[in-house]
């Protein structure tokens, strides 16, 4: 029996290794795809060209929101003839490793999709001076502007402008005098969205109450639904959600309970019945990325930008039939004021 065990395991090893070779066939891939030698510095020499683009995403490309729109944007770029790659669910441990991995593999434009990638990107960018980097968020606050690597562009885009407009829409459409905001949680963008929404509501009427909930998760659609139901039971009749998968549950609840909602990142009106999705605050990530490519080609890429409604990076989806012309007119007036710079929405990252 002892002997049998040995023979069994030996046989198993042999069969499997043979199986692997036979099953996969062909020559070892290593021969055809030898590692690029010398790293990025020799592969990329001119910063005003771009050919291979990679993006680091904090979540999953199926979230119908923040990550998925980035993915779709990337696919559009791919269709335009560029070589693209993406990595999903890049957490705090992996950020630097993934950045470096792409740089080593000869990618000459690497995007970190979210302000949380700024710190790691700064460390990597110094080692790869010929690679361009783009962070869709603000620069780390405790690194002085002079110390920011020149080859990174930070787009501290004004998503909060969209949230402000959403606040105006909500305040104009509410009948009960109570509106709601459901956020996923833990980053600057979410925080400033929440605060701007409250400001937007207050700009219309001091009497409209804003209820806010931070669910703490972007993945739990069942929790999102319960959250929205709790708000609706409290009398809320317009809800803005900015929380990806969790937000899908919010939309589902609004659809079922016949309450107005406002979508996030993309035009989500198709997800909600009867035109109840009044509009969506959209971030045109494809545009954000493709416009970077033009900037890179113009040379001297890097620095900080603050794109918003004015630049078309943030926009509002078409109003649903539930929104009267009068309300639409008022909202559009606010949008124009922001675009012209007459009204400035400063991101407020503070609690409450």
């Amino acid at each position: 029996m002892k002997r049998h065990t040995k023979i069994l395991s030996l046989a198993l090893t042999l069969t499997l290794s043979a199986g692997m070779l036979a099953g996969c066939g062909g020559s070892p891939a290593g021969q055809s795809a030898a590692p690029a030698s010398g790293g990025a510095s020799s592969a990329v020499s001119d910063r005003s060209t771009v050919s291979k683009i990679a993006i680091l995403l904090p979540g999953s490309i199926t979230d119908e929101s923040w990550n998925q729109t980035a993915y779709e944007g990337l696919m559009q770029i791919k269709d335009a003839g560029y070589e693209v790659a993406y990595t999903e669910n890049v957490g705090s441990n992996d950020m630097e490793a993934v950045f470096r991995s792409y740089c080593e593999d000869g990618y000459d434009f690497v995007i970190g999709h979210g302000a949380q990638y700024g710190d790691a990107c700064c460390r990597v960018a110094e080692d790869y001076p010929n690679v361009n980097f783009f962070i869709t968020g603000n620069a780390p606050e405790d690194i002085s502007e002079a110390d920011l690597p020149a080859n990174i562009m930070f787009a501290d885009y004004r998503e909060c402008e969209g949230a402000y407009v959403s606040g105006v829409v909500a305040a104009l459409m509410t009948k009960s005098g109570k509106v709601g905001y459901v956020g996923g949680g833990n980053n600057t963008t979410q925080q400033s969205d929440k605060n701007a929404f409250i400001e937007g509501v207050a700009s219309v009427s001091a009497d409209v109450e804003v209820k806010t909930v931070i669910t703490g998760t972007f993945d739990d659609s069942a929790l999102g639904k319960e959250t929205a139901i709790a708000m609706i039971e409290d009398g809320v009749d317009v809800i803005l959600q900015t929380c990806d998968h969790t937000g899908l549950g919010v939309l589902e609840a609004c659809s079922a309970e016949k309450v107005y909602c406002i979508g996030y990142t993309s035009d989500q009106s198709a997800l909600v019945a009867d035109g109840l999705c009044l509009t969506s605050m959209m971030v045109d990530i494809p545009y954000m990325i493709s416009s970077q490519i033009d900037l890179i080609k113009a040379g001297g890429y890097g620095g900080q930008a603050f794109p918003g409604l004015h630049d078309g990076v943030v926009s509002m989806a078409a109003f649903s039939t539930e929104v009267s012309d009068d309300v639409a007119g008022q909202v559009n007036a606010v949008i124009d004021q922001i675009k012209s710079g007459e009204l400035v929405i400063t991101p407020n990252y503070n609690e409450n």
């Binding site: 030996l10 891939a29 795809a33 993934v98 405790d142």
Partner: protein
């Protein structure tokens, strides 16, 4: 079903411990190969070439010092958590709380590294942070250890639950009291672990981990403490009869386990992220268990397994870039490897570095 079960039992009974070393040498690679073969089905399903995928995962990261530096980012925490949980496994305790213990270790390093303390300590914040991190990691594990010997509460459940609690505590800390600036993360540490090589992320953490692996081997195999720990794992009854104070040993095994996980967390912030943030412990809590299992609790085996798993993680990005296989495949492969290794060990009549007899 009963027949299979009795067959497995008889195989287990006959394959004694003495020849376990030889058959393990064959069985482990065979099991890993079997898992990779099943993994190939997934790779083929997305239309990629398995050999190419495994090349990028396992061989490519070894081809330059820069790439090795990236491997070390995974190797160091995997190795430390691996030997950490092995201490517990020797006493037949399952420490599933590596994640929480790492988080507390990371917190310890952060508290010593950020203002006001960090600036004053300068480079000395590193040893101070390591000490505090080790203490906090050990303390967090001690909760589970205490309940185990005080109430005989399942350490499995408690360590698992405490992960969630630790996660929320760290989330709260980076969101409110420790927050620096707009992002929910702490201020930057005053000092980073010194590098070993200019163009690579290799740092002193690797050396610390390797030295401790040797220390682990000596403790487990050459000291009275290690002997008693293993005796306790082999048969609690016999060990207690032989005079081993079991409650104290259970507690100590858990605390040692937590101390090493805490160290992993401390090195993680000072050698990688430089700030305390959510998710800083990654999946290393469970990854370390995989490593301990694959390594058969043997120091050399654990080191080899940690390297193997680190290669998988470090190579997964390149693999995805070159072949289009999602990086999440890495975790599926990890799970498959462990399941197959367990299968192999069952067939070979082996148990996780300990004999099967329970009572």
């Amino acid at each position: 079903m009963n027949r299979i079960s009795s067959l497995a039992a008889s195989v287990g009974g006959l394959a004694g411990k003495r020849q376990g070393g030889v058959s393990r040498l064959l069985l482990l690679p065979a099991s890993v190969a079997a898992a990779m073969l099943v993994g190939s089905v997934f790779i083929l399903a997305v239309g990629a070439n398995p050999l190419e995928a495994y090349y990028y995962m396992l061989i490519r990261p070894l081809t330059s010092v820069t790439a090795l530096g990236e491997v070390s980012m995974y190797f160091t925490p995997l190795l430390l958590v691996g030997i950490g949980v092995s201490f517990a496994f020797h006493a037949k305790l399952s420490n599933l709380g590596g994640e929480g213990q790492m988080l507390f270790g990371a917190l310890g390093m952060t508290l010593m590294g950020i203002p006001p303390v960090g600036g004053a300590l300068g480079i000395w914040s590193l040893p101070a942070g390591i000490l505090l991190g080790v203490a906090l990691g050990a303390g967090w594990a001690a909760i589970a250890g205490y309940f185990k010997f005080k109430f005989h509460a399942s350490e499995i459940i408690i360590t698992l639950m405490l992960n969630y609690v630790a996660r929320q505590i760290i989330s709260y800390l980076v969101f409110y009291p420790l927050r620096s600036g707009a992002e929910p993360q702490s201020a930057k540490l005053a000092a980073a672990l010194p590098k070993l090589w200019a163009t690579s992320r290799l740092n002193w953490g690797v050396l610390i981990a390797l030295v401790l692996t040797v220390v682990y081997g000596v403790i487990v195999r050459r000291t009275a403490f290690g002997y008693r720990l293993r005796a306790l794992g082999d048969s609690e009854k016999a060990a207690v009869y032989g005079g081993v104070p079991k409650d104290r040993y259970y507690f100590l095994a858990m605390v040692l386990s937590g101390a090493l996980c805490g160290l992993a967390g401390a090195l993680q912030v000072s050698g990688n992220t430089m700030r305390l943030m959510e998710g800083v412990a990654g999946d290393f809590g469970f990854g370390g268990i995989v490593v301990a299992m694959l390594g058969g609790l043997h120091p050399l085996g654990i080191a080899a397994a940690a390297l193997f798993m680190a290669l998988l993680s470090a190579g997964s990005v390149t693999m995805q870039v070159k072949t289009g296989i999602p990086t999440s495949f890495t975790s599926v492969l990890e799970a498959l490897i462990v399941l197959f290794v367990l299968l192999g060990m069952a067939v070979g009549g082996m148990k996780l570095g300990r004999k099967g007899d329970r009572s």
